[in-house]
Symmetry: C2
Subunit: 306 residues, 2 copies
């Protein structure tokens, strides 16, 4: 699947991923109002609205981008109807040829991590039939529990040709509280980075990249530079561009010289483009066209660094 | 809610929580076979089977215990039908007066952590109506992202009178890879413990305990002793008793002198008791009675330390 991601990135010439994080406030009011008219002020209405909203954006952008990253929390907040919308979104994006990175940040131990890995990347066997739960292509994984927590995901990746991105250095202001603490003279995130390199060593694809990638926030380019060297085979998923303050120029260290090795996420900046002054002329009804234009602009911005 | 938990523990004289982690291999074959007969070899059948299995255990044990801890991964592996079973389990346990600790180990940043908190502890507003997703009483939270990741949960806890348990030192063998690393001369988990104390400082209930508790594995009693002192107001949720090797004697340091301050989880040891030699005489059909006996035995074992 890492090879598929690399191939999609080359094809689109766009090392970007659209974060499908449908906050209810982002959904155009005409969509939400109609859903409430149909189903009342219910979780079901919210689920229907965010699915319609997503579908519009996917239809408008799928030919320009290699991948999407739905943030499951934004669906989980609406309970079961929200997760139904998540599943529909995952399935639809895969139909459209997009690589789907489930931003689930799961992580537990042993058989519990295996259960998460099966639910999101692999399948379970019921009687003699293999059944698939959410079936994303990649998921994000939290490393705090160590190898016991991550290894079950890697095992399922091997069996199913899937991949993971392990949180190494996140983009938020307080990420340093624990991640930057000095351990044997070096910050903890460097140690986690070294583990990522180790965990991914025997799942390297023909692209030269590993099924075990890393999350490193765009807001810390100096750290990105160091981590790029510590994890030479890891694809780096970079959140924090745009809305969180990361700039295109700061992204250089995350990439290798061939323009590969990193994929930059933008959520709000794309899916909520119609609410920005810059794209306001599209109007609410054409929110998806505004997203398409924002993707084109982001691609240009990112590619300007090469 | 922490006060409710303490009150339930006093009432039952049982500082124990039953982990409702329905691995499909635990479900008695007559239940699974019937579900497959009704719905085929599908996720729906698995969901129906684990719900029936859980219901049996809850009905047999609810009067003896203060709380349950469903592990969401075990439901999530069955996709949407699994999560439907999770929701039914949460609702039914609450009906029975049990405190429900959703073992979800979520953790993200800012608005994303807020979304998780709303989905599991609070609610979302659709139009003018507040709707609840999963609505557990407590959830477990991963601290790797720092205060930005935990604070949104605490905010929702305040509004909704709910609680969290933050992962401090987990019970698994490799937990030390990052958690035990020395930071300024002390292990990282002690630093996380100090944050737990800080995060919980202004949500202390009338019981004297905070809505912000901690997860500390039963497998590390020496560390439990230190952490008990660092986080005097935190209730400690203790996994790893029984199947993972933690003993009743080793649990002493986690408790305060009044016998409060900790709640010990057992999953497999209770819900899969009928598969142990000790309880084999119950037979598969009476799996729930075997669980009841295992709860009684565990209560006696834990209370022997006081």
């Amino acid at each position: 699947m890492i090879d598929q991601l690399v191939s999609n990135i080359k094809k689109t010439n766009a090392p970007i991923v659209v974060g499908l994080d449908p906050n209810i406030d982002y959904v155009p009011s005409y969509i939400l109002d109609q859903a409430i008219k149909n189903q009342g002020e219910t979780l079901e209405a919210a689920g229907a609205a965010i699915w319609e909203y997503n579908k519009g954006i996917i239809d408008a952008c799928y030919d320009l981008i290699p991948a999407v990253k739905p943030q499951v929390a934004m669906y989980e907040q609406f309970g079961l109807p929200g997760l139904e919308a998540f599943k529909k979104t995952v399935d639809y994006c895969k139909e459209k040829g997009l690589v789907v990175i489930g931003d689930v940040k799961r992580g537990d131990i042993g058989s519990t991590s295996t259960a998460y890995a099966k639910g999101h990347l692999g399948g379970v066997t019921i009687g003699n039939t293999k059944c698939y739960g959410f079936n994303e292509d990649f998921v994000t994984v939290n490393p705090y529990l160590g190898t016991d927590g991550v290894k079950p995901f890697v095992d399922v990746c091997k069996e199913e040709n899937k991949g993971i991105f392990v949180l190494v250095k996140t983009s938020n202001p307080s990420s340093g509280e624990f991640q930057d603490q000095k351990v044997e003279g070096k910050p903890l995130y460097e140690m986690v980075g070294a583990y990522v390199d180790k965990w991914g060593a025997d799942v390297v694809g023909t692209s030269g990249y590993s099924a075990v990638g890393a999350v490193v926030g765009a807001t810390y380019p100096e750290m990105g530079k160091v981590l790029r060297k510590i994890m030479p085979k890891a694809y780096i998923l970079v959140p924090g561009y745009g809305a969180q303050g990361g700039t295109a120029d700061g992204l250089k260290p995350y990439f290798n010289e061939d323009g590969l090795g990193a994929i930059v996420n933008s959520s709000r900046g794309i899916i909520c483009a119609y609410k920005q002054d810059k794209y306001a002329s599209f109007g609410e009804k054409n929110y998806a066209d505004a997203s398409r234009q924002a993707v084109i602009d982001m691609r240009e911005d990112i590619n300007s660094i090469f």
